[in-house]
């Protein structure tokens, strides 16, 4: 797979337009590959590995085979991330480097690697608008809170600041272990509503709408709160409401079969 991909890349290079902006070649690095090409090649190899794994997986007959395949043959994100990190290091400060690091963040990194990538992004790419895309991939890890705080403070883009603030609020809400965390989450969501309401949320809607839903959930749907009424119709179109069952223990299940 690897040699094939490289062959493909070589032919691309020969045919590639836009050679006017090629950097001057340094004589000591005769084999230096343009970082943009290196990244494109890396992404292509990752995608091909995913497709190849998909085919293998489909051909597996038993659960055991499938499990074994997952353990042995699933493309290892960390290996591709290491290459992306190298591109990010080589091309420091360029858009390509930012793109490589942002892409690496989606590969499911361990906390060491995540810390490295976040550090590079902060040091060299704080002005990049693509950092907004990273925020929603961050749930935990030692460097996460610091990274999001820095973005809110230093990014020149409202969309990045808003997304970082929203994610800080979401993490505070999800880790909420007591009233203090709850208050912290509420305060952060209120800031999102006040300053970044109109920014699009990647899952649809705006940050403001999503933040309001979260505020509603914290204030009305916590343990110990009285559950809001639900009215609607069942599968046969018969109207009913949740309080029809008051007095019983209600197991309320949001489900779908899709």
């Amino acid at each position: 797979m690897l040699p094939l991909a490289l062959l493909g890349l070589t032919s691309c290079l020969i045919a590639a337009p836009g050679t006017l902006t090629l950097p001057v070649q340094e004589p000591t690095e005769g084999r230096r590959v343009d970082p943009a090409d290196a990244l494109a090649d890396l992404q292509q190899r990752y995608q091909e590995a995913q497709v190849a794994f998909g085919k293998l997986y489909q051909s597996a007959k038993t659960d055991e085979e499938r499990q074994k395949l997952f353990q042995e043959s699933y493309p290892k994100g960390a290996e591709y991330a290491r290459e992306a990190l190298a591109i990010g290091n080589d091309a420091k400060g360029t858009d390509v480097a930012a793109e490589a690091l942002v892409w690496a963040m989606q590969l499911g990194l361990d906390s060491d690697m995540q810390t490295k990538v976040l550090k590079l992004l902060l040091e060299n790419h704080i002005d990049s608008e693509s950092l907004g895309d990273v925020c929603f991939d961050l749930y935990g890890g030692p460097a996460t809170d610091e990274f999001l705080k820095e973005l809110v403070e230093k990014s020149p883009h409202d969309a990045v600041k808003g997304k970082a603030l929203f994610q800080r609020a979401s993490i505070a809400k999800d880790s909420s272990a007591g009233e203090d965390d709850e208050k912290a989450a509420l305060a952060l969501f209120e800031q999102v509503i006040e300053s970044y309401s109109g920014i699009d949320h990647p899952w649809g809607g705006t940050l403001g709408e999503m933040a309001r839903s979260n505020v509603f959930e914290i204030e009305n749907l916590g343990i110990g709160k009285i559950c809001p009424e639900i009215t609607g119709a069942d599968a046969d179109g018969v109207e009913f409401k949740l309080t029809d069952y008051k007095g019983k223990v209600i197991f309320l299940d949001f489900w779908g079969f899709w």
């Binding site: 110990g224 009285i226 559950c227 609607g232 069942d234 779908g256």
Partner: protein, 110 residues
């Protein structure tokens, strides 16, 4: 979830316990088919794709999302899987008037 829910319904059929679904499939017809095929005997609100307005109000972002309410409609558990059996049984005992209600613990399950 279905096998566990079916067994809960069977186990607590004579107790003050009910499962209420908020279904997020495409159509009421699809919901009826699933209920029949999977032998789901409990009632579901048909809320439309993604759980519609109800899921929106409840800020549901992952499925399944489960709330367990006591006899006074107070939320005693929320999470993305079934609540612990002991909690269900404790709340049933409260609802049946066998034990006085305890104040809810301030924590949610995942």
């Amino acid at each position: 979830m279905f096998p566990h829910e079916r067994s809960l319904v069977e186990k607590h059929k004579d107790a003050p316990f009910v499962i209420i679904g908020v279904n997020s499939d495409e159509s009421a017809e699809q919901l009826r088919e699933i209920q029949k095929k999977e032998n789901l005997t409990w009632r579901s609100f048909f809320a439309g794709r993604g759980g519609g307005e109800i899921a929106k109000q409840f800020n549901v972002r992952g499925w399944p999302t489960v709330y367990l309410l006591d006899k006074d409609m107070k939320i005693r558990f929320k999470g993305h899987g079934s609540p612990p059996d002991e909690l269900i049984e404790e709340l049933i005992a409260e609802a049946a008037g066998k034990v006085p209600a305890k104040p809810p613990e301030k924590k949610s399950g995942e």
